[in-house]
């Protein structure tokens, strides 16, 4: 049984993520305790909210160090969802400039409407076009719809980190990967069948 630490930093839809992991055959533990994270086989960093608040909450709980040791140094499979992916960046520009966790070389910037019908926030189902193959998307063809709800996006400086893009506001990065560190801008826990496929692929790592 996969023991999945769903990192609780006081923000986000933790129950939804935990329930989806359960449905996908994992055993979720919603936690901010070092021993739970250290004993997990997989780590998920969910998130709904503002970048600055998110990072502050993560740091206040000392989670930045623990997560870095497990995921970056230890190679434990890690999945950031929405804000949880954005926080991996070098810095964010939501409500002032805030240093991110810095695992992924990039910046989090506001989506800029391009054309009449690119409303912001970007809310709803949109296509995820894979830019390279990845085990995270095994069984999921390029171009399928996933559920998004966000106003900011991650601009990757290193194109090697990009896994998928989505055509809104001129196109933005909707999935990233560096080794066993993954991030998705969409919400797999709310994307029904295909979202569950992504979660199962992650749990199979």
């Amino acid at each position: 049984m996969k023991r999945v630490a769903v990192v609780d930093y006081g923000m986000g839809n933790l129950d939804s993520v935990a329930r989806a992991i359960e449905e996908c055959g994992g055993r979720p533990i919603v936690t901010d305790r070092a021993e739970d994270i250290e004993s997990a086989t997989h780590i998920v960093l969910p998130g709904v909210g503002a970048f600055g608040d998110g990072i502050r909450n993560v740091r206040q709980r000392g989670l930045d160090q623990i997560l870095r040791e497990q995921a970056v140094v230890g190679g434990i499979p890690f999945l950031g969802i929405c804000l949880g992916m954005q926080m991996l960046a070098t810095r964010g520009h939501e409500g002032g400039v805030t240093e991110g966790l810095g695992w992924i070389d990039g910046e989090v910037r506001r989506l800029e409407p391009a054309g009449e019908d690119s409303r912001v926030p970007h809310i709803g189902w949109n296509e995820v076009a894979l830019t390279r193959p990845s085990t995270l998307f095994t069984g999921v063809d390029s171009g399928h719809d996933f559920y998004f709800v966000h106003s900011y996006h991650l601009v990757c400086h290193d194109k090697e980190d990009v896994l998928a893009v989505t055509p809104h506001c001129g196109g933005f990065v909707s999935a990233i990967a560096r080794g066993r560190i993954f991030g998705v801008q969409f919400h797999p826990e709310k994307s029904q069948r295909l979202g569950f496929q992504v979660l199962r692929n992650f749990l199979a790592l």
Binding site: R19, V48, G49, G124, V149, H168, K190
Partner: protein
């Protein structure tokens, strides 16, 4: 541009789901849990769940019920009714809501929109506006389930809400609600043109053609409906098939 969204609305009153006409004459239409399970199986785009008596009864949201429903809901869920504080929002998001709809509190304490947006992000704040057409053809917004005039037009209210950080507008025509005579396209257009955030049209859907009309002429980003799913054989899936045929980009 994301796909247009077709979303069933579930109205909760006392013990179960209801549907009325013009915010009145409520009929019982079954259990909320049953509806959530069915819509989950059918993979609808999104669900809206509104507790329509919470504010008038002076109650906070029923967190336990939302928790139970959200556990069966692997699609986006917007929850409204009785939401008056940042703490209410925190708890609703924690138990599984993705977005929170505020109506009366957004009119009485507009700063609440800003507080929620700052803390949880704009994308989870849905400002719900209930509007009625005046005899002179202009519109008035209402709070408290259509009981109290807000003293502002829906377009102004929506624009103010957007400036405070709202991420989406759920716009309901009280006149059309439950009539299945079609959305108020003019109202929807007025509000869609006033803001750059997505607008969900609600109130009056009776046919798939009504949906196409409000998406095209009202410039809505999403269509909410209840009566046509409760009282006719029409389904969200068939709605999307129709809309695809009409040239809209949908998720099938």
């Amino acid at each position: 541009m994301p796909k247009i969204r077709v979303m069933p609305t579930l109205l909760f009153k006392d013990v179960g789901l209801v549907k009325g006409v013009a915010f009145d004459s409520w009929r019982r239409v079954g259990s909320a849990m049953q509806a959530v399970k069915v819509y989950n199986l059918r993979e609808v785009d999104e669900l809206v769940y509104l507790d329509i008596t919470a504010t008038n009864d002076g109650r906070p949201p029923d967190f336990e019920t939302v928790d139970d429903l959200a556990d069966e809901c692997f699609m986006p869920l917007t929850v409204g009714g009785g939401v008056r504080t940042v703490e209410h929002v925190r708890r609703l998001l924690k138990v599984g809501a993705d977005k929170v709809a505020i109506n009366s509190a957004a009119v009485e304490h507009p700063a609440l929109i800003r507080e929620i947006a700052d803390r949880f992000g704009s994308q989870c704040v849905v400002v719900s506006i209930d509007a009625r057409r005046r005899s002179d053809g202009t519109y008035e917004s209402y709070t408290h389930s259509g009981r109290r005039p807000a003293g502002r037009s829906p377009a102004v209210l929506a624009k103010d809400a957007e400036a405070m950080g709202a991420g989406e507008v759920l716009l309901t025509s009280i006149d059309r609600d439950g009539t299945m005579q079609g959305y108020d396209v003019e109202l929807t257009r007025l509000v869609s043109d006033a803001v750059s955030i997505p607008v969900i049209a609600s109130g009056g859907a009776g046919t798939y053609a009504h949906m196409a009309e409000v998406l095209r002429d009202g410039r809505a980003s999403a269509v909410a409906a209840a009566s046509m799913y409760h009282f006719t054989e029409q389904t969200p899936l068939a709605a999307k098939q129709h809309l695809r045929g009409a040239g809209f980009s949908v998720r099938l």
